[in-house]
């Protein structure tokens, strides 16, 4: 067996290069790290930083075109020297991996149980079929899948995303591995499910005693779970240390900037975010020197010439290493961390007058989709109640956020508003005009006042048009003359912080953040009063998010916009919104001023959402008591008597039977409750009994 001092996994000077016509892409450049037995290592980095590639190299799962150099030692064996057959014996048995997308990681034609049993029997030929199946049931139970005996016979498509990821974890721990590599295991999941999955991962780690290498872009996830953190940037490890060291005393300016740019649900809304300008260099054409130098405010000449090595700057503590020429100055306090990235000044926001004017008013909005079956005789088998009677209004100059898990109907709501036609039921009033009574010409004119920014900046602009045409499109629709259009495009580009000389470039020449700015510029072309934002930052890297959020805040103040904001990231919402409406299965369960709702959530669902949002601070994150939800979002096709949240409600389970009867029979309405701040409304029968968050 291994000596106690030998690390479980030792990566030495690992480099991975993908040869390409236009220059080799050096995805990983000489990284070295170790994982000890039973350790939890978090590898943090933005997309393209090489964090996944380096872990795939450990598993030997890189495409054959990749050129891998360096050494990888796993428990005394050199993994890079093993052939595929020998490696297969290690993979899945001693090292297992959990992928980001559990749908594509499970084979759709076999049952989940068969796939787990297959993983078991591959590495243990002696195991009988029956024994393997019994073990599969047991494993599904361990990862918290309800009714595992029945579920073991289910196919992957019958599982929800969270359950699939649980099944993946079951498969990963099936052979009692010694190292589990989790590659962004929660990125595709909702925040409440993410909290559940991370708990399961901790549980799996506890049961098997395996070391875990968690790859993620989310600093909050790392803060709560990892023992040590490795930060990657442009194919290099730039900082490595214990979680406390990295979060409280970051040394590499990139880590410092990243930590300051992430919105924190506790402090958000009180101060401006600190954007980390620029973007990582191309891995195919790396500049000389430190790859971060171009974005680093404290870069000196040396940084642009010599790439710094990963070394320790604190003589007392060799475990915390960073790659920065000025690391010593940062460590001894000559350079103050909080002053490296100055916090931008906020524009003075005039207090929103408590006016009764409403730019947008939605009343009892409903949108049901029929669910049809049958190829020849199509018949209606059910109804998807995507939006089921919601009301809210948006006051001028304020920001309303709709939050909730995916499938709660928030996107359907805004798309329904954007149609500007009479909804199935209820009414939509924009600028005091009922949209159901508009003529064609009036509707076209009204479209100038309400514009939308989409989630995915790649998909939201036509890839074939130069940026000037993309932005001018709404003006073209409203027949604005050419000279005026060109002037407006230049003005808009300036407004969103892009260089007007870039107007004739094509969208793919811009980064994600810049493209989102293009989307915002296009939405602003007609000088709208209302801007609808559908998850505008969720597709962006963390360091880019802050810049876009700041831009939106500035625009709101400068142009007097009213924003209707849809998001699932509560920290982002807290940063930007004035009012919040929490949605669950097509209904609003709690709404009110965001500071009141977030400080003291009253609905059990809001409480669970807020407690599930990770906080990038290890001290707080580890001490937190979470309100965990049971299971997944029920299908919106199901019929409900009584409260729809009942099936997952943590409060419901604590209630005496007579109180539960009320939840079963009566659907709670949004209402004011005694002791709640003004304008906070909650749809729950038992607000007074709720002690979950206390």
């Amino acid at each position: 067996m291994a000596e106690p001092t030998r690390p479980l996994l030792e990566v030495k000077d690992l480099s991975v290069t993908f040869p390409q016509g236009s220059g080799d892409v050096r995805a990983v450049r000489g990284i070295s790290y170790q994982i000890n037995e039973g350790e939890f290592l978090g590898i943090v980095g933005e997309s393209g930083s090489g964090k996944s590639v380096s872990s795939l190299a450990v598993m030997g799962l890189l495409p054959t075109t990749a050129q891998v150099t360096g050494e990888i030692w796993f428990d005394g064996r050199p993994l890079l020297q093993l052939n595929d057959r020998e490696l297969s014996r290690v993979r899945g048995k001693e090292i297992s991996i959990i992928f980001q997308d559990p749908l594509s990681a499970l084979t759709p034609v076999y049952t989940v149980g068969d796939q787990i049993a297959e993983a078991l029997r591959l590495h243990d030929r002696a195991l009988t079929k029956q024994a393997a199946e019994a073990r599969a049931v047991e494993l599904l139970g361990i990862v918290g899948i309800p009714d595992p005996k029945r579920r073991v016979k289910a196919f992957p498509h019958e599982f929800s995303g969270g359950m699939r990821q649980r099944a993946m974890i079951a498969m990963a721990i099936a052979n009692n591995p010694r190292l589990i590599i989790a590659d962004e295991p929660t990125t595709a999941l909702d925040v409440t499910i993410q909290a559940q999955i991370l708990e399961v991962l901790e549980e799996a780690k506890r049961i098997t005693g395996a070391a875990v290498s968690l790859i993620t872009h989310d600093l909050g996830v790392v803060a709560g779970h990892a023992d040590r953190v490795a930060v990657m940037y442009a194919g290099k490890l730039v900082e490595l240390g214990s979680t406390e060291q990295v979060f409280t005393e970051p040394t590499m300016p990139y880590t410092i900037g990243l930590l300051r740019s992430v919105p924190n649900i506790l402090t958000a809304g009180t101060e401006r975010l600190v954007p980390l300008e620029g973007r990582p260099p191309s891995l195919a054409a790396l500049p000389a020197g430190c790859p971060f130098a171009a974005r680093c405010p404290i870069a000196i000449d040396e940084c642009r010439e010599i790439e710094p090595a990963l070394i320790s700057y604190d003589p007392a503590d060799a475990t915390h290493t960073a790659a920065c020429h000025r690391g010593a100055e940062i460590t001894n306090g000559e350079l103050v961390r909080s002053e490296i990235f100055p916090r931008p000044e906020a524009l003075v926001d005039d207090e929103i007058a408590e006016s009764t004017e409403k730019v947008l008013e939605v009343k009892e909005l409903k949108r049901h989709f029929p669910l049809m079956r049958g190829a020849v005789f199509r018949r209606r088998v059910g109804t998807v109640r995507a939006v089921d009677g919601i009301s809210f209004d948006l006051r001028p100059g304020s920001t309303l956020a709709l939050v909730g898990e995916s499938g709660c109907g928030k996107s359907t709501t805004i798309l329904e508003i954007m149609e500007l036609v009479a909804p199935q039921e209820g009414s939509i009033t924009v600028d005091g005009r009922d949209v159901s009574k508009l003529s064609r010409a009036e509707r076209l004119a009204l479209r100038k006042d309400i514009q939308i920014v989409f989630q995915d900046p790649m998909a939201a602009v036509d890839p074939r048009l130069p940026v000037s045409e993309v932005i001018a499109e709404p003006l073209l629709v409203h027949k604005v003359p050419k000279a005026e259009r060109d002037a407006k495009v230049a003005e808009l580009l300036e407004l969103v912080g892009l260089d007007p000389s870039m107007a004739d470039r094509f969208p793919h020449e811009f980064s994600g953040g810049q493209r989102q700015r293009i989307g915002i510029a296009r939405a602003l072309a007609t000088d709208p009063r209302i801007l609808v934002l559908d998850e505008p930052v969720s597709a962006l890297d963390v360091s880019i998010q802050a810049g876009v959020i700041n831009l939106l805040e500035d625009l709101k103040v400068r142009l007097g916009l009213s924003l209707l904001f849809v998001a699932h990231d509560l920290a982002v919402v807290r940063q930007i919104a004035d009012e919040v409406a929490v949605m669950y299965l097509g209904r609003i369960v709690e709404q009110g001023p965001i500071s009141d709702v977030f400080r003291e959530p009253r609905h059990p669902y809001t409480q669970a959402l807020i407690s599930a949002a990770p906080i990038p601070d290890p001290a707080i994150e580890r001490a937190r008591e979470r309100v965990l939800l049971q299971g997944d979002l029920p299908s919106p096709t199901s019929e409900f008597a009584g409260c729809r949240f009942r099936s997952r409600c943590p409060l419901y389970r604590l209630l005496p039977p007579d109180a539960q009867a009320l939840c079963q029979s009566e659907d709670p309405e949004l209402a004011r409750h005694d002791g709640a701040p003004a304008r906070v409304e909650v749809a729950c029968h038992h607000v007074e009994r709720n002690t979950l968050a206390a």
Binding site: V25, S47, G48, G278, R279, P280, P281, S282, L283, A284, A285, A294, L415, M418, R443, L444, R447, Q451, I452, F454, Q455, D456, M458, A459, A460, V461, D462, P463, R464, E473, P474, V477, H478, D499, S501, M502, R505, F506, H508, E509, F510, S511, G512, G519, R522, T526
Partner: protein, 313 residues
């Protein structure tokens, strides 16, 4: 259809794209999609072979007659049924007509029919398919029904039935009928592409800014499936030439005195063994022509979609 999926999905990898700094802007301009396709095409030998052969055939078809003493209708009664000689390069048939001159004339006709009918059927497919896919509902249903109907009816049989009509008129109508019966499969592809494009956010964005349906189709839908359409039009040229040849071969297409490669082949088959030059030369020209066009179309498809065909690894 993997080709169409990648056409939609293919986006340059953002992570690998360099940041544009003001200093860089003057120096280099990253490739647009068109530029990228052209660069891939340029480095494909197949493409150049195809283009070379095709250019040669076109030049031959139109410059060849200028330097040859016989026309397609001329009869040399002293040299009937002769094999290839210095005087009659491809020989003559039983009534003394020059096969070389006739082959060139047939090639001209086949080229024109192919080059008109191929793109024309693609155009019909693009319009019908995108309208059906974008509008959806009852329009889509009825168009889909018409497409299915036309697909079920064998188009060759229909063309044979209709041949009395267009043989009376002229071969121009043959071209029209050929395209009218060959757009359906492509229209289906365009329709499904449009349906997925319709849900893309930039199309939604265009709708929410008040753009009308014809504008959206013309500005956002068609250009985004343009590469698909260009491939189809290229391969369509070959398919149309083949259809025309088959029809004429069976006597339902081009009628004498006009000649096409199909009529030549049909006249020559009876003598394929005894006087092979009647059959071999037109057949060889037809094969080379189809080969050249297929090479171009194939190279183009690979350039647009590197994961298909020859590049699949």
């Amino acid at each position: 259809m993997s080709l169409s999926e990648t056409l939609l999905a293919e986006e340059p990898d953002a992570a690998l794209e360099p940041e544009l700094t003001p200093a860089e802007q003057g120096r280099r301009k990253p490739l647009s999609r068109g530029g990228l396709i052209w660069r891939r095409l340029r480095s494909t030998p197949r493409f150049w072979v195809g283009v070379g052969l095709f250019a040669f055939l076109v030049a031959w078809a139109y410059l060849g007659p200028l330097v040859y003493p016989y026309g397609p209708d001329d009869r040399d009664i002293y040299n009937m049924g002769m094999g290839p000689t210095m005087m009659h390069w491809f020989g003559t048939d039983s009534i003394g007509m020059d096969i070389y001159a006739q082959t060139i004339s047939g090639l001209q006709k086949s080229l024109v029919i192919g080059l008109v009918a191929g793109p024309l059927s693609t155009l019909i497919a693009a319009i019908v398919g995108s309208v059906a896919g974008y509008l959806g509902g009852i329009v889509d249903k009825s168009i889909a029904w018409v497409i299915d109907l036309l697909l079920v009816l064998p188009s060759f049989f229909l063309l044979v039935l209709l041949s009395p009509i267009f043989t009376q008129l002229s071969w121009v109508f043959l071209t029209l009928f050929l395209s009218i019966f060959s757009w359906m499969i492509m229209a289906q592809v365009v329709r499904s592409q449009t349906r997925s494009l319709k849900n893309r956010e930039f199309v939604k964005a265009a709708r929410f800014m008040g753009m009308s349906t014809p504008q959206i189709i013309a500005k956002h839908i068609i250009p985004n499936i343009a590469s698909l359409l260009i491939i189809d039009a290229t391969l369509g040229v070959a398919a149309m030439i083949l259809s025309e040849t088959s029809l004429s071969f069976f006597g339902f297409g081009v009628k004498p005195p006009a000649v096409s490669l199909g009529t030549l082949l049909s006249d020559g088959t009876g003598a394929a063994l005894t006087r092979p030059w009647l059959f071999v030369f037109p057949a060889a020209v037809l094969i080379v022509l189809l080969f050249a066009i297929s090479l171009i179309g194939d190279a183009f498809r690979d350039a647009v979609d590197p994961t298909s065909g020859a590049n699949r690894g």
